[in-house]
């Protein structure tokens, strides 16, 4: 194949000695020749890599590697979940049942693998624990194209629907069918710096609405000196925090989608809520500031008391406990102030579910394991003890663990407080477009904030026309994406999957 013309033209094949000279006897001095490549090719880099490869290879071979021989596989995306599940999985595997192998996988990778498994022919796990943004990706087509097994009948027949907190099922309910067991409830309360507020003699129990909150805590805002920005604000809320914006919109009865999944970004309730939120963030007397979550900067601002109040879903309690431990005893909780007297005092932030892949060849065993894992009281208590997460299984709510005083939150019976709000958690429709909608709403809020500030318009009434225009634009933008989905169009009957 190789045309080494010069060699062929040379006629007689000759041998070569160690110096590259050719011997006349026609034989190759193979031993010397073999040593040549090594001598020339073994540069320090190659030698180092070779040594590293051999030593590490031997080390790996000697190290004990767990054998994965399970008949069922489960993927989860969160290490705290994984750690909590290990005992339950071990317990299951010790019984005479289909053995389960559990794997911890990054969320983005799980999204890719899950969709690959559902839409293509690549392998996927039997059970998948998916966060809302991941699971909803699968709800983009007709019912029979959803990659998760429809659990509605199983849940009904086994009487589990009444055991599970109803609103917690909504993000996994598509076209009236339920595709996952909820992992959590994630009700939201308002955390406040009790050390500062109570020292000022303010009783937070008297706060019922957002207007009450700003009226009562407004005097505690501090400015170092005239011309400087405030050192202390009432509320941690900013237009860049899309989760917070969504939480408040849902609490007000709004949100980007109607309960049936119809896009409704530009509805009146959203316009009013956005106008109020923007009014909190701008103007000489603004009451909101930016304290980013999950960042050292934000943690330092929390320690400094830069904001007095924070939106606090149950899982966020655990974040604070780990990231700002020195605030122990200085923070307390109340239900979120309502938008109007008598209004809803909570909202929802985040959520995960456990679903069974349709591609699983052992769906019955997977269902049995899913129940063993998610319905277990032990797991519910572990979730709360190690993650501050309230289980959606109502029969476990009577456990005394939830009534224990929590030292971090000033000895409040935090578990019970969250449980009392669980029924009022807003419904969220299962839609693959909620991320796009959330982003569009956030952009609309940012634009509204910028425009209103540049025009010196600071009251909700003044801001409302700007908010309406921007939300209408956001609605059109997301609708364009939604309408591109042939399955969700009105003429979808004509389209075969």
């Amino acid at each position: 194949m190789f045309q080494t013309g010069v060699y062929r033209n040379a006629g007689t094949p000759l041998s070569m000695d160690g110096n590259g000279k050719v011997g006349q006897d026609g034989t190759r001095r193979s031993s010397k020749l073999l040593s040549l490549p090594l001598r020339y090719a073994l540069s320090p880099g190659v030698a180092v890599m070779l040594v590293l490869s051999i030593i590490s290879g031997i080390t790996i071979a000697l190290m004990e590697t767990a054998r994965h021989t399970g008949e069922l596989t489960m993927w989860t995306f969160a290490k705290p979940h994984y750690d909590i599940y290990v005992p339950a999985v071990d317990e299951w595997n010790n019984e005479d049942k289909s053995e389960v192998d559990m794997f911890l996988i990054g969320r983005q990778v799980m999204d890719r693998r899950m969709l690959g498994g559902f839409l293509g022919e690549v392998p996927t796990a039997d059970l998948l624990e998916a966060e809302r943004s991941s699971a909803s990706l699968t709800f983009a087509g007709p019912l029979d194209a959803v990659g998760f097994v429809d659990l509605t009948e199983s849940l009904e027949e086994e009487g589990l629907l009444v055991k599970i907190n109803k609103p917690s099922l909504s993000p996994w309910t598509y076209e009236g069918r339920i595709f996952g067991i909820p992992h959590d409830v994630h009700p939201v309360m308002l955390a406040y710096r009790a050390d500062i507020i109570e020292e000022a003699g303010i009783d937070m129990q008297a706060v019922e609405t957002w207007d009450d909150l700003y009226r009562v805590l407004g005097p505690l805002q501090q400015r170092r000196s005239k011309g400087h920005p405030m050192d202390r604000y009432v509320m941690s809320l900013w237009d860049s925090e899309s989760d917070m914006l969504e939480t408040l919109l849902l609490q007000s009865g709004g949100g980007a989608f109607l309960p049936d999944g119809t896009l409704a970004i530009d509805r009146d309730i959203n316009v009013q809520t956005v106008s109020h939120m923007v009014s909190w963030m701008i103007g000489p007397d603004r009451v909101a500031t930016h304290v980013p979550e999950f960042s050292p900067t934000g943690d330092q601002l929390k320690l400094d008391g830069h904001a007095l109040c924070y939106l606090m879903p149950d899982w966020m309690c655990n974040v604070w406990r780990h990231n700002v431990p020195s605030l122990e005893g200085k923070v307390k909780l109340i239900p979120m102030p309502a938008w109007k007297p008598g209004g809803t005092r909570t909202s929802v932030w985040g959520g995960s579910m456990l679903g069974i892949a349709k591609t699983s060849s052992k769906q019955d065993e997977a269902w049995e394991f899913a129940k063993h894992l998610y319905l277990s009281e032990e797991l519910a208590l572990d979730l709360y003890r190690s993650g501050d997460i309230i289980t959606p299984i109502r029969e476990h709510w009577d456990n005394p663990v939830f009534a224990e005083p929590d030292a971090y939150f000033g000895g409040q019976r935090k578990g019970l407080m969250y449980i009392e709000l669980a029924d009022d958690v807003p419904n969220r429709p299962a839609t693959p477009y909620f991320k796009q909608a959330r982003e569009a709403v956030q952009n609309a809020v940012s634009r509204t904030k910028q425009e209103a500030a540049s025009l010196d318009l600071y009251t909700p009434e003044q801001i409302e026309p700007i908010a309406r225009r921007n939300l209408e634009l956001a609605h059109i933008q997301v609708k364009t994406i939604v309408d591109a989905n042939a399955f969700l169009r009105e003429d979808s009957e004509e389209v075969s999957p």
Partner: protein, 288 residues
């Protein structure tokens, strides 16, 4: 130089001031990383660099700890195994990829064979394909071959990158004179021998550079191991360090300590191989 002191002039001072400023920009984040790896959670949040206090040199030494490093190597995180995995994956891939790319690059530059043009076009075409596009088909292939959740499944797709083949082709064209190859052929050396004895030593600078490039690429590979590997004990450092950050909170001290552990071997390797990285061997090779 000959022992002469450099004459200090205004441009000399300006250049050195600029270099010092650039060095500070490079060193400060590294210093921050090293110090943060030894700080307590509270110390991390309260002090940018060393925790100031009433101890010796005005530093609160009680806020410095090796606890994070201890946790990393405990069974809780198990970074030791991840370190070995990363070294194995990176070193093995670097060696194989360098050897195969050098072979292919040499063949492309120095030999005439049927389909050579097609081969070169294929390499060029492969260069313009964004790697994320290959994730799904690669995953399917690895599944078909039964290589999922194996080191081989991660190493195999990385041993013949088009970039490397093209790099060695260009290096061969530039550094290996055809007259030397012809001389070796006249002397009767086989093609593989010519590659090993003549070409490869002359490509040593590229070999050194490519070894480090591929070692680093595999060392920093984050998505690949998560796609191909499933077992926790097979994951490399990049993934294990990421997994110390949970869905709910971040332990910054642990993250910094993990990052420190992950960059130390690579930094040491680079320092050790930097001469190899920059050495030139081809000069004077055709002296007659």
């Amino acid at each position: 130089m000959n022992g002469k002191r450099p004459s200090i002039s205004v441009p000399w001072v300006l250049v050195h001031l600029l270099l010092i400023a650039v060095s500070i920009v490079v060193i400060v984040p590294l210093l921050y990383l090293v110090i943060s790896a030894f700080k307590t959670e509270q110390g991390f949040l309260e002090h940018t660099f060393l925790p100031l206090g009433e101890g010796a040199l005005g530093i609160d030494w009680s806020q410095l700890t090796t606890k994070q490093l201890g946790r990393l190597f405990s069974s809780e995180i198990g970074i030791g195994r991840a370190l070995v995995n990363s070294i194995f994956l990176s070193a093995t891939t670097a060696m194989l990829a360098t050897f195969i790319c050098a072979l292919a690059g040499y063949a492309s530059a120095a030999l005439d064979f049927k389909g050579k043009r097609a081969f070169e076009w294929l390499v060029l075409a492969a260069l313009i394909i964004p790697p994320p596009l290959l994730i799904a088909p690669s995953y399917q292939w690895l599944h078909t071959l039964g290589l999922l959740d194996s080191y081989t499944g991660l190493i195999l797709p990385a041993v013949a990158p088009a970039f490397g083949v093209f790099l060695f082709r260009q290096a061969t064209l530039q550094s290996v004179p055809k007259s030397i190859l012809e001389a070796a052929r006249i002397d009767g050396l086989g093609e593989f021998g010519i590659f090993l004895v003549i070409a490869l030593p002359m490509l040593r600078p590229m070999v050194g550079a490519f070894l480090i490039i591929t070692f680093l690429a595999m060392w920093n590979n984050f998505i690949g191991p998560q796609i191909v590997l499933q077992s926790a004990e097979k994951q490399p450092l990049s993934v294990v360090i990421y997994q110390t950050q949970t869905a709910y909170y971040s332990d910054y001290g642990l993250l910094m300590a993990g990052t420190l552990v992950s960059i130390l071997p690579v930094a040491a390797l680079f320092l050790f191989l930097q001469r190899d990285f920059i050495a030139g061997l081809s000069s004077g090779a055709v002296k007659g």
